[in-house]
Assembly symmetry: C2
Homo-oligomer: 227 residues x 2
């Protein structure tokens, strides 16, 4: 019997290493022992699948907001306050996102409106060493998380621009763990930091600007909405 | 400003140890090094929040089906075949589950219809040593996962009956990692195996029967629907 559609895609490997493979587990244990997976437990506890094929940005942000224990200040279901993609409508209805995805600037704004501190870095404005410094910072503490905005072509993956959080760092191999929110397609995977950096340097066609990453952390003050 | 509802609940600890705490990370690393977290990577890669407050059974099963890479044989969204709670309607529309949750037998049947091999164990029919044997088996391989059906009171947690998958085992401390699908309420947590066993021994009021656990694995043959 022929089945329609796809059951996942084969992860191009190299350059990626499947998190669930023996090699991926070995890298994970080494990185964990080395203290560069400090943000992993909180982030993986909130790992989720993008609920719409255009929601990779919203899903990545939702994961990070819940990981940072930011209170949305309103209810999700029943009595529970909790972030879900459907609640990220601070900048207007989500119909546009559903149709076209979301821009780098708008995602940063959404994170800010939701109560997080968001620093946005275009790859064109910094160096790979800066990027590595931020990856190291967020992988050795629970206080911040990085959402990468990159083009999948740098990783030999199908489709184009994508967002996903970075779940940890292996300093010895200089590799990052991508928690790909398109979980129906690719498992979490390790990739060379230099390649995700290359993917962040792809130009977003319509804008002439590169992609980059968002550094998201808890604000020192109360979220805007709670003032 | 007073906010309505709850932002999570304080995890009663003891008896539980928060997975995201320093102590929880220490237990995790020890168990991982000891080889009793072999199913963790696949299961955590599919960790999700129950999308309805009565869906803990469906969500636990969805996680396990996706972790075992069982192909649903039909599309979820776009071209992608992937399990989601909404697709577990083999035994009829999900309205009843939304209203009342799902029974132990029906959840086992759903897993079977979805293409998995499901063995259901009532706590009254086996011993704690049998349970530990199955936990050990599924934590030292990627081939099976356990869904616990228990009463939260044994863990001093609020609310009643609940389902969640077991994410790994710490043999030295005899503790299991509960990947609680009510993520808006409690983080993943370690608990003594003896206490989750106690929770599985609570009677389901309406039936006079105890709770227990489902041992879910890939079938040796093709799933029913693909014959």
């Amino acid at each position: 019997m022929m089945l329609n559609g796809f059951y996942k895609r084969l992860l191009p490997s190299p350059p990626a290493i499947d998190f669930v493979s023996n090699n991926g587990k070995k890298l994970f244990l080494e990185a964990y022992q080395n203290g560069t997976m400090q943000g992993f437990n909180s982030l993986i506890s909130h790992f989720q699948t993008q609920t719409e094929l255009t929601y990779c940005g919203l899903t990545s942000l939702t994961m990070v907001l819940n990981s940072l224990a930011i209170d949305p200040g309103r209810k999700w279901k029943g009595p529970w306050r909790w972030f879900d993609e459907s609640m990220l409508d601070y900048c207007g209805p989500l119909e546009t996102v559903r149709a076209n995805g979301i821009s780098f600037e708008k995602l940063a704004s959404l994170g800010h409106c939701a109560g997080a501190k968001v620093e946005a870095f275009r790859a064109s404005n910094i160096t790979i060493d800066d990027f590595r410094k931020y990856v190291t910072k967020c992988s050795t503490t629970d206080d911040c998380h990085i959402i990468a905005s990159y083009h999948r072509a740098a990783l030999k993956q199908t489709a184009g621009g994508h967002y996903s959080p970075i779940g940890g760092y292996h300093a010895g191999k200089d590799m990052v763990l991508i928690l790909d929110v398109a979980r129906f397609k690719y498992p979490p995977h390790w990739v060379p930091l230099s390649l995700i950096w290359e993917g962040m340097n792809y130009i977003v066609g319509s804008t002439g600007k590169t992609r980059g990453f968002l550094l998201v952390s808890r604000p020192h003050k109360e979220p805007n909405m709670l003032k």
